[in-house]
Amino acid sequence: MQSVKRNEKIDGVRTPSILTNKSQAMQSGVFKTEQDMIIHAQKGDQKAFKELVQQHLPNVLALGFRMLGNSTEAEDMAQDVMLGLWQNVRKYDPERAKFSTWLYRITANRCLDRLRKKTPDQLPEDYDPAIEAEQVETIYNKQLSKSMDTALKTLPERQYLALVLFHYQGHKMTEVAEIMECSSEAVESLLARARRTLKQKLGPLWQEFKDNNSPQQLEEKEGEIR
């Protein structure tokens, strides 16, 4: 059984690839700042709106996919959000929140609405996100992904949202708090409870992983290779 690759860079900054898309739109040179882009979009400028979409769509999609667990639904939700953005961009008030915070708050709320409407049997029984993504190569990783999927489904939606925003989307604690409209302390509490649950649910798998990678086991494996 192949093990999960160890996190070698514990002190390193893990920048989610999704965040590298930031500021790409500004690089086009048409609008100097995002604020400029928003003002133009509020005045009905389609080019400004297009750039806003190009800048934020990847994050909206990623958040949707993490929350809804399905790429088709994530696409639908992202289309809804972006359509709503065009229709309601004039309602955005910069004095109340950052644009991204406002947009991700809308996205998070749309996801929660969809989750609440969704009944468990809407997903096919053989639905396997690992297979859908076609990026998980090994049986062990598949098993890990499946266990994680099961564990994540047991989390209350706000704990899950906090985890997605913080871990996957790479938002800072204060940003998560703003998006979720609660205090940073409340987010810390949500994250701690979520991770404790995951730790507990993944405990047996972790034990298996540990046993398979004990110094004795590793020596045996090396002996087999020789």
Partner: protein
């Protein structure tokens, strides 16, 4: 046994709490905490690397504690890795999706929110909405203010006159119980601002 960890605010329990919140990726922790955690981990590993250089410190930290801390870190890393391996993002056809969004959006209309003013527009809109004659004038001296206050004073005066006249009317009515006097009194009140004149007039009329 001397506890050499006293100088650190970090302990096993605190470490566990932090790992539960932030995971094993220390870069996600606030800077002061990262330093504390790193110091704590370094301290523990230095003590227990088997070099035996510092026996006093070795005695302060038990093997079981080292194991516990290592386990805490491993579990936190494991959860991080499981999260990373879970549901890798699909490769979306962004261009097609964007085209769909633009087609839908531009076929619809933006909501009319004439009252919504944002950013720098706020100042310029206020200026635009002001009549040219008052832009740049101090609010206390401008034409708009003068007109408004004049109207207000006139309205108050009229209301005062009416109330005063009614007061006079009541008084006269009470005094005389006569419709005729009352009527005259009302006229006086209106003319003489509802002051003593009303009584005087009433007295006059009575006599």
């Amino acid at each position: 046994m001397t506890n050499n960890l006293d100088h650190l605010t970090m302990d096993e329990k605190k470490l566990e709490e932090l790992l539960d919140i932030y995971g094993a990726n220390l870069s996600k922790m606030p800077e002061p905490l990262v330093k504390e955690v790193k110091d704590f981990l370094r301290y523990c590993s230095d003590d227990l690397d088997g070099s035996g250089q510092n026996e006093q410190r070795l005695s302060a930290i038990s093997i079981s504690m080292k194991e516990k801390i290592a386990e805490l870190m491993e579990k936190a890393e494991f959860v991080d890795q499981a999260l990373d391996h879970h549901n890798p993002l699909p490769n979306w056809d962004m261009k097609t999706l964007e085209e769909k969004i633009f087609a839908k959006a531009f076929a619809s209309k933006q909501e009319s929110t004439a009252d919504v003013i944002s950013f720098d527009d706020r100042k310029t809109s206020i200026k635009k909405n002001k009549r040219p004659s008052i832009v740049g004038k101090p609010s206390g001296n401008n034409e708009f203010f003068t007109m408004k206050s004049t109207g207000l004073i006139a309205a108050s005066l009229l209301a005062g006159l009416l109330i005063g006249s009614l007061g006079g009317l009541d008084h006269v009515f009470y005094e005389e119980g006569s419709t005729l006097i009352a009527s005259n009194s009302l006229m006086d009140d209106v003319l003489y601002l509802g002051t003593e004149y009303s009584l005087e007039t009433a007295e006059f009329l009575k006599n």
